[in-house]
């Protein structure tokens, strides 16, 4: 019993110390944390993201930091596994004592980590997932960057309904939580028009053969297929359809918004649409500050700046904006107020407008429509909504 009492006293001491000032902030340093997939199935997202985060942090530090404080970002690898994410978050929250979590990747990982993170008073900023739970229910420490998957697909349905229309809408869904959110968006928006999904197929993330699923869609006579999927399965579905002579309009969400997808399968992706809350900028078509960032990245990391790297860069830029506004006396409350006050921030790369408010913890305001043309993504329309 004495052990328990001492432990209780000790833990009270620790908690007491934490109240004195926000964790992760010292006279000359602010520590930020992030966990992402650096060596698992979503490393294609995580690795460039980590580079983008680091690049902006390095730039800010080289320019003298924020109110005299240097930024430090600790990035942990989760291999897209919840147990690893919990361990990583445990380390970030309690050993590194981070001030805020930024760009954490994966819906299940965020959902698992958030309860203890929010209890510890560490804000969850701009997670790398567009699940609705990242902003809902409203919480003073939860801020999402993207418009969620459901809204992305509602906007997609609305756009194609108003521009050309369709008769037999279908869904090809990946069997996970993101897929479910996307399909929900299609269902909700079709319901507005008094329509229903004509055919729906489901596949797992590891499936390598889409023939049966594509055949189902083909036999149902779909004229538009909303592909509620991830990266590899989207390529497979579209390429298999081409092979089987089935060529409806394919529309997908933000996850396959990558150069590798546009160039996949020898031009089979031509004409694929996607709806996204961010813009994948290209060196050839960008100018000014955006061009500088893209070129610097290519020089530093030896590859073209992938959209995830662009996002990482924007996340830190947005966060720095709030840190700047929060002033030299940094507290978590002051910082959160500064985020809520962000209004009309235009991202330096893609030019999307981002605003928050007391009731609005979802950053990006409108969506864009991108299309594969000559093996690369081009913005076909901006300002999509429903």
């Amino acid at each position: 019993m004495k052990n328990f009492a001492t432990a209780l006293a000790l833990s009270a001491l620790v908690t007491g110390a934490a109240i004195a000032g926000p964790q992760g902030v010292t006279e000359d340093k602010i520590t930020l944390g992030s966990y992402t997939d650096l060596s698992g199935p979503l490393a294609v997202w995580g690795v460039p993201e980590a580079n983008g985060l680091r690049m902006r942090v390095d730039e800010i530090n080289a320019a003298g930091g924020i109110h005299g404080r240097q930024l430090e970002i600790v990035i942990e690898d989760t291999q897209y596994q919840v147990p690893r994410a919990i361990q990583a978050a445990n380390k970030l929250l309690r050993r590194d004592r981070v001030f805020a979590m930024v760009g954490a990747l994966g819906t299940p990982m965020n959902l698992a980590v958030m309860p203890q993170q929010l209890d510890a008073g560490v804000p969850n900023l701009f997670p790398m997932t567009a699940a609705p739970e990242m902003a809902e229910p409203l919480h003073q420490m939860k801020y999402a960057f993207f418009r969620n998957y459901t809204e992305q697909f509602r906007a997609a349905v609305a756009y194609f309904h108003d521009n050309g229309g369709f008769v037999t809408p279908c869904v090809s869904q990946i069997a996970n939580e993101a897929g479910e959110s996307m399909t929900l968006g299609v269902e909700q928006q079709l319901h507005e028009y008094g329509m229903e999904i004509v055919a729906k197929t489901e596949h797992s993330a590891t499936e390598t053969d889409m023939v049966s699923s594509v055949t189902t869609l083909k036999n149902a006579g779909c004229d538009i297929v909303f592909n509620a999927g991830s990266v590899k399965d989207t390529i497979l579905t579209v390429a298999t359809s081409k092979k089987l002579g089935f060529e409806p309009i394919f529309v997908t969400g933000m996850v396959p918004y990558m150069d590798a997808v546009a160039k996949a399968a020898d031009g089979a992706m031509e004409g694929l649409y996607l709806v996204s809350p961010f813009v994948f900028a290209d060196v050839a078509t960008s100018e000014g500050e955006a061009k500088r960032i893209l070129e610097t990245y290519a020089e530093t990391y030896g590859t073209k700046m992938e959209p995830q790297a662009q996002l990482g860069y924007i996340f830190i830029d947005l966060l720095a904006e709030a840190l700047e506004a929060a002033g030299p006396e940094l507290t978590t409350e002051g910082f959160l107020a500064a985020i809520e006050a962000i209004n009309g921030y235009v991202d330096p790369i893609g030019g999307q407008t981002i605003s928050f408010g007391p009731e609005d913890h979802q950053g990006v305001e409108t969506l864009i429509l991108a299309r594969v043309e000559n093996g690369s993504w081009t913005v076909a329309a901006r300002g999509l909504d429903y």
Partner: protein
């Protein structure tokens, strides 16, 4: 070197070999109990994970290490335990203290049913069958709609035992420690009972086990049952450690991790499951410390963890198939009999033909 004189048959089934051994284990227990006094919440949470994985590992050890049935599907049982516990707690309002054993029992019954079917298979076929169980379970939970929360998953309510909220690291640590020690004692006890000996007899030779009057089919299913009960228990505890469960959490990767755990630890021993759990859970943590000391290019590259993990694993499989515990026993023996150590001491004395299987 100490020589053990056997004076009675009871000596064979004692919990500890002698007083020295008892002293050491009790000392470890005391240190573990006192850990909240000198470790902070971070290490306590890490150790909690070790204990929970060790419970799941003990379950798999009963199945694979003692009864000789390879299973690639242990994570499926962990998932069933986690879901049963969470659903009983949050949807049916069952008290925690009842919900956990109920979840373990439900998992055990599922394990029994699967064991009855899979018990007829051996080696590669059994591995494939259990692998498919892991995949099917993940898909079934994902497709379970509102009942299982589908792919979206379920939030896990907090632990509440008779009105006492277990909400701090040191409390969950002690709870996990208690159940972990209980699981060790149960496994230890199993090994000195008739059924435990039957399992080992079946592992070593099905023909001789059958000829000695052991009901092979029954005990194989029994091993599945016990293994699933342990996995279910670990699942219930893991659910709390995760705060939120999704079917992806308990995918095939997790099953393979559990199997690797007991192989690295040392298959066929209780120590093996525990050493393996320490290895699997703490390795990423240790690597993340080591990484800070390495040059930036290596530290920030993605695959470092996987590479280090793979290399260590390869090292074990090539140079120490008996795992961490096997190595420990050899080192211990080396000093015990110094300078008379012979490598031959650890050569397998009996070998059985793979063909002597019974349907």
């Amino acid at each position: 070197m100490r020589v053990l004189f056997r004076k009675s048959y009871k000596q064979d089934i004692r919990l500890f070999r002698d007083r020295t051994q008892a002293f050491w284990y009790l000392l470890f227990l005391c240190i573990a109990l006192a850990a909240p006094l000198f470790l902070d919440g971070y290490f306590l949470d890490e150790l909690s994970f070790v204990y929970i994985y060790a419970i799941a590992g003990l379950g798999l050890m009963i199945l694979t290490g003692f009864s000789g049935q390879v299973s690639f599907g242990q994570a499926a049982f962990v998932a069933i335990g986690a879901y049963a516990h969470t659903i009983l707690l949050s949807r049916y309002g069952v008290p925690w203290i009842l919900s956990l054993p109920l979840a373990a029992l439900i998992t055990g019954l599922v394990g029994l049913a699967i064991g009855r079917i899979c018990g007829r298979m051996h080696g590669l076929y059994l591995a494939i069958a259990t692998l498919s169980i892991a995949i099917v379970t993940e898909r079934l939970i994902g497709g379970g709609g509102d009942f299982t929360g589908g792919h979206r998953g379920l939030p896990v309510p907090g632990i509440d035992i008779f009105g006492i909220a277990i909400d701090q690291s040191w409390k969950t640590y002690l709870l996990n420690l208690a159940l972990f020690v209980g699981a060790i004692l149960m496994t230890r006890n199993l090994l000195r009972t008739r059924s435990g000996r039957a399992l080992i007899a079946i592992r070593d030779s099905e023909v001789s086990a059958r000829s000695l009057g052991t009901n092979v089919a029954f005990y194989k299913a029994y091993a599945f049952f016990l293994s699933a009960v342990f996995a279910g228990l670990a699942g219930g505890l893991l659910a709390h450690a995760f705060y939120y469960i999704t079917p992806e959490t308990f995918g095939m990767g997790e099953s393979i991790r559990l199997l690797l755990m007991i192989v690295v630890g040392g298959i066929g021993t209780i120590h093996g499951a525990i050493f393996g759990a320490f290895f699997i859970v703490l390795l990423p943590t240790v690597l993340s410390w080591v990484k800070v000391l390495l040059p930036g290019a290596i530290a920030t590259s993605g695959g470092f963890d996987s590479l280090a993990f793979g290399m260590i694993l390869l090292g074990f499989i090539l140079f120490e198939p008996d795992g961490l515990y096997g190595r420990w026993v050899k080192i211990h023996h080396y000093f015990n009999v110094f300078p008379m150590y012979k490598r031959r001491s650890f050569q397998r004395q009996k070998t059985f033909l793979k063909t002597e299987r019974l349907k």
